[in-house]
């Protein structure tokens, strides 16, 4: 069964000076129990789409249903089954002058939860998200990670079937990010929640998502699994080299001068080891040319590499390779 269906959705922002087509015929579906990620650069239409799913923005055309309910004509029913967490604003949507527990109690009441049930659920969520020690502290004293966890707890307070998460880990430290990712994966895998997730972070998407959609300039340019996205851009020839050297700048300038190298995709230095990935036109010619240019250095490995999800995404979005 499809949890979310989006069909030919159009959203246009009009002002006196200009008209912006934020969504231009977007269509996709998300299966029940699926972890679905929407990727795209800034201004691609991710937040607009999430707000339409959250019923706070009306589309100008097309059809959007969540668990069979229309987000425009049956918004009340949709609101019962969705939980929305907007990480993008750094916890602004919480009441900072209330304690964490009061924030959750308020939203439990707004969702009509019986106070006794609400109390049980609030404490279970606070404990599971390691916020129980700060339950009575004012939110203004919370760290960003704590605020985001509290927003997640708020989104889950009424046991929604579908979670809409707009960049929930944006700006978090590594430890909090890992905890939240683990929590989301648990929700999806073990309690069958459908998760619609937007992110800029490719590693996160690769680790979590069952399927991804890439949106750019209001249009979906790819839908499939992370592996499918990588395979889609497999035709791009990437050479990865690992060598022992400290002359990073010299090697970089040599690479940039080589006609066979189109672009340096990544360049990492760890102690006295350098590792870089370059985009090339002709794979075999490039491998031999690079090996020749780096003659005298201790090359540990030189080989063809598959694009990372991040590289695949960048190729799709910025160079229109999907076409």
């Amino acid at each position: 069964m499809d949890a979310i269906k989006v069909k030919n959705v159009v959203k246009i922002y009009k002002s006196k000076r200009k008209t912006v087509k934020a969504l231009n015929g977007v269509s996709f579906h998300v299966r029940k129990g699926e972890f679905f990620a929407l990727l795209g650069p800034n201004g691609a239409g991710k937040t607009t789409l999430t707000k339409i799913l959250a019923t706070i923005l009306l589309p100008d055309g097309g059809e959007v249903t969540i668990m069979g309910y229309d987000v425009v004509s049956q918004a009340d029913k949709v609101r019962r089954i969705i939980g929305w967490c907007e990480g993008e604003n750094g916890g602004r949507s919480l009441y900072w002058r209330l304690s964490g527990i009061d924030n959750l109690k308020l939203f439990a009441a707004l969702y009509g939860l019986n106070p006794r049930d609400a109390e049980k659920r609030i404490w279970a969520l606070l404990k599971f998200l390691d916020l129980d020690h700060a339950a009575y502290k004012l939110v203004k004293s919370y760290s960003l990670g704590m605020k985001i966890k509290l927003m997640l707890a708020r989104a889950l307070i009424h046991d929604p079937e579908v979670l809409l998460l707009d960049e929930p880990t944006l700006g978090l430290d590594v430890e909090s990010t890992i905890k939240i990712r683990r929590f989301l994966k648990t929700l999806c895998n073990e309690v069958d929640k459908t998760i619609f997730f937007t992110s800029h972070n490719m590693h996160e998407v690769e680790a979590l998502a069952d399927r991804i959609a890439v949106i750019n300039k209001g249009k979906i340019i790819f839908i499939g699994t992370p592996d499918e996205l990588k395979r889609r851009v497999e035709k791009f020839k990437i050479v990865e080299v690992t060598l022992l050297s400290n002359d990073a700048e010299e090697i970089k300038s040599k690479l940039m001068k080589m006609p066979v190298v189109r672009k340096i995709l990544s360049f990492q230095r760890r102690e006295n080891t350098l590792r870089f990935r370059v985009l090339v036109d002709n794979l075999y010619e490039a491998i031999s040319d690079i090996a020749l240019a780096l003659k005298g250095y201790k090359i540990e490995r030189i080989e063809r590499a598959l694009p990372s999800l991040e590289e695949a995404f960048l190729r799709l979005v910025f160079q229109g390779e999907a076409k």
Partner: protein, 291 residues
């Protein structure tokens, strides 16, 4: 907490979502009160404001001629006359101002959009805000009366006068809550409508008979009719005549004022319609979040 324990509490018990609308409304008002009491400096400044305005009118009352006032049927105590006016003007101003201010606060702090996405309708949420604003405005109304009583205002109301006064105040509050709801509806889309609140306060103070009797406006008929177009004017006129001069609300001139006051009840559905209209507009244009 172990994962299976968490899952048991969170996902294996069906969630009961059947609390009454009244319960939700009361909770919204309670939480708002809790947030508001966190701003302690504002408390102190409000008390100071009340003291200054009462003292200002006390001094003004020394200039008034008691005989002129008695001739118009308001007793001989101008201070009592003006305290009722100021206290009630402050009451409705606080009520409307609070509602508009808090919606603006919710929009600018980013909580409004999340509230819209819950199962509580914005109308119910606004009624919760109105309840909070009424409680808060009532506290300040009592504050004005209390401070004034410390400097010479001694209202002596019989039970019958008290019941009538409270009843008329209640009607005034309900009607002005409707104005508050209408203004908050406008602010959802047009944002900073504090100016509208100040305009209302200015109009009420100037034409509503707060510091001078309504009949003084007779000399300028246009202004007199502007005054009659305000629900506040009718409410204040009744309360003064009942509380100061001991008239019954059923006496013909007061009954007329009361019927006119009641006729302003249409403002309440108009307020809700305004909210529906502007919320739909903000959802179309994406202005639910902008400020």
């Amino acid at each position: 907490m172990r994962h299976d324990e968490f899952a048991f509490v969170i996902y294996r018990n069906k969630v009961d979502t059947k609390i009454s609308k009244l319960h939700r409304m009361a909770y919204i008002a309670w939480i708002r009160l809790k947030i508001f009491t966190g701003y302690r400096l504002r408390f102190a400044l409000d008390i100071l404001g009340i003291c200054i305005s009462v003292l200002q009118y006390l001094l003004l009352s020394l200039l008034a001629n008691p005989q002129d006032l008695a001739r118009l049927g308001y007793g001989t105590d101008y201070f009592a006359f003006v305290v009722w006016g100021v206290a009630l003007a402050r009451y409705v101003w606080d009520l409307v101002g609070m509602m508009v201010h808090w919606v603006w606060h919710e929009i600018s702090s980013g909580t409004f959009g999340v509230i819209v996405s819950t199962t509580t309708s914005i109308k119910l949420w606004l009624m919760g805000q109105a309840l909070f604003s009424t409680v808060w405005a009532s506290i300040w109304f009592m504050g004005v009366i209390l401070v004034a009583s410390l400097v010479g205002f001694h209202p002596s109301l019989s039970i019958f006068q008290l019941i009538q006064t409270v009843f008329v105040i209640l009607v005034m509050i309900i009607i002005h809550a409707g104005i508050g709801i209408m203004f908050t509806g406008i602010s959802i889309y047009h944002k900073q409508v504090d100016v509208l609140v100040f305009l209302l306060a200015g109009i009420i103070e100037m034409f509503g008979g707060v510091i001078y009797p309504l009949s003084l406006l007779w000399n300028i008929p246009v202004l007199y009719y502007v005054a009659l177009a305000l629900p506040f004017t009718h409410g204040l006129e009744i309360i003064r005549k009942v509380a100061i001069s001991g008239y019954s609300i059923l006496t013909p001139p007061l009954l007329t004022h009361f019927i006119v006051l009641l006729s302003f009840v249409w403002i309440i559905p108009l307020g809700f319609k305004t909210v529906d209209y502007y919320l739909a507009k903000a959802r179309r244009t994406g202005d639910v979040f902008s400020y």
